[in-house]
Symmetry: C2
Subunit: 184 residues, 2 copies
């Protein structure tokens, strides 16, 4: 397991990344309530399920600041200006795993907590992989961990694998590949 | 489909619910970076997968302010002070679905976006249900929608079902129940 970064300084302050919007709402039954929601930077996010020919999926182990821990999850990132979802997915895949994909397909998009966040992540299935490394902006090298789709429950029971959207995306791809296989 | 609430007013302001913490980090290779993460109110959240005797799971349709839409997802809520995870899960289940559970079991906990959020949701499997309604603080009645665990992929393809942690929890319960069945 990698050594966690050292926290040099921490302070509460106005965010560069997040804004909070307060809304006053009137429901159709006349009840009025005040709600808060988080607005993020308005760019899409992508989550990539890259399946190798042997059926293993590429996970990455990366530092997660929110939990101050190393987390095992799917490669992901924010789209850059002018980039399509599939272009961004392939770029992030190359930066984070050292592989590109000849086949890319968006299978769904997921929210995190729609009750108070607008954030939406596009899930992209990547196949027909080939070695291709792009330099990203990561502060340290990322470890790539291949994982079998047959062992998702045991993955969910690991302390270092907790991200709901990654687990959902892995299960959805498992279902989709099983459907494809049974359709011949 | 219910009629969306009317937005009476919206403004960007300091949050009642969220704080942003800025951290300066030094990675083990010496690289220094600045990160931001969201701190929520420090109480746990619970997500309940309530399985009826006929194998259907109880989803709810509820207004989601983040996406300003009605979302189909698992019942969920915040723990109250002094409440255990299982107590809070049963209370939220009674408030949101009108059922209590004689059997409650935490199966895992999920993060939303560990890269920039510390938020963690405890996933509770609830079985042996009985009718029991508690009044919650919902602004309008919640619709309960039973859903078969056999049809999770089609659930994920609905526009009104997008929450990653709900889909992950449903798949994990499906796996767990299949394991139980095959172990006799």
């Amino acid at each position: 397991m990698p050594k966690l970064p050292e926290i040099l300084k921490r302070e509460i302050k106005q965010s560069q990344l997040f804004k909070v919007e307060q809304l006053e709402l009137r429901f159709s039954n006349g009840v009025e309530r005040r709600y808060e929601r988080l607005l993020g930077r308005v760019v899409g996010a992508v989550l990539i399920v890259a399946v190798r020919d042997d059926g293993q999926v590429l996970l990455i182990r990366e530092y997660a600041c929110g939990t101050h821990s190393y987390e095992l999850a799917l490669p992901k990132g924010r789209l850059e200006a002018g980039e399509s979802i599939l272009e961004g997915a392939n770029r992030e895949l190359m930066e984070e795993t050292g592989f590109g994909a000849r086949s890319l397909q968006e299978i769904t998009s997921l929210t995190l907590a729609p009750g108070y966040m607008a954030h939406r992540t596009h899930v992209v299935l990547a196949r027909d992989l080939y070695p291709k490394k792009l330099e990203g902006d990561e502060p340290e090298p990322i470890e790539v961990v291949p994982w079998s789709l047959e062992h998702l429950y045991s993955l969910s029971q690991r302390e270092d694998c907790s991200e709901g959207r990654s687990l959902a995306a892995l299960y959805l791809v498992r279902d989709l590949l099983q459907q494809e296989a049974s359709n011949g």
